[in-house]
Symmetry: C2
DNA sequence: TCAGGATTTCGATAACGGTCGAATTGTGTG
DNA sequence: CACACAATTCGACCGTTATCGAAATCCTGA
């Protein structure tokens, strides 16, 4: 499977991160990742089509918020929580805590 | 001067707040407010026209992030920091600290 | 190698959002 | 009242983005 690009978190800008999180669907994704750890693409519970979900995952990935690791024919998604915490301390964690 | 609408912070949604902060110009505005306390519209240091600035201030106001109080023919802007902190603890403060 | 499932990419569409200049509103002052 | 000034609103333009279905890509197992 083709190599996916994951930006170095030191190069991502704060507006990019906030923009990635300023979407209800993407917030749902991030919440579910925070709860479940690694989640496979088809297991997200979101009210959009598969192609749209793929688009949202790409936005989150390019903002440095999640990492994608191929596992067989699946792809495992997980938050880059430690890295984000080091880059923007408290931002992602407080956003996660501000949601039910 | 016409009464400006300020939403009850308990009614604003997290995506609205994040969306309001996911813009470089609006982040500049928020930073300058955090430093200077109350700032009059014409004194913001931003690289956009007055009408565009007014638009950004409206977005921030409707997201519950700042309050506008008329003072003569000027308008004073200030962060609603305590209220935002109570509603989304750590979100606004961590974003402020994540910027120079 | 072929079939099938998982995910992404492509192409199209519609809505949103940042931007500006011009016009408008509101406030204080002469 | 008339004027100047501060700020908003309006109308338009244009790039961005959320969305979908269809097609393409990638992997596994028979």
């Amino acid at each position: 499977m083709r190599a996916l690009h994951h930006p170095d978190v030191s190069t991502v800008a704060l507006p990019s991160v906030l923009n990635a999180l300023a979407d209800e669907v993407r917030l749902m994704v991030v919440r579910q990742l925070a709860e479940a750890g690694g989640v496979v693409c088809g297991q997200f519970d979101v009210p959009v089509s598969m192609s749209t979900l793929s688009h949202h995952l790409k936005v989150l990935r390019e903002a440095g918020i999640l990492r994608v690791t191929p596992q067989g024919s699946f792809r495992r998604h997980e938050l880059r929580l430690p890295e984000m915490e080091a880059r923007f301390p408290g931002v992602l964690t407080s956003i996660l805590q501000a949601t039910p």
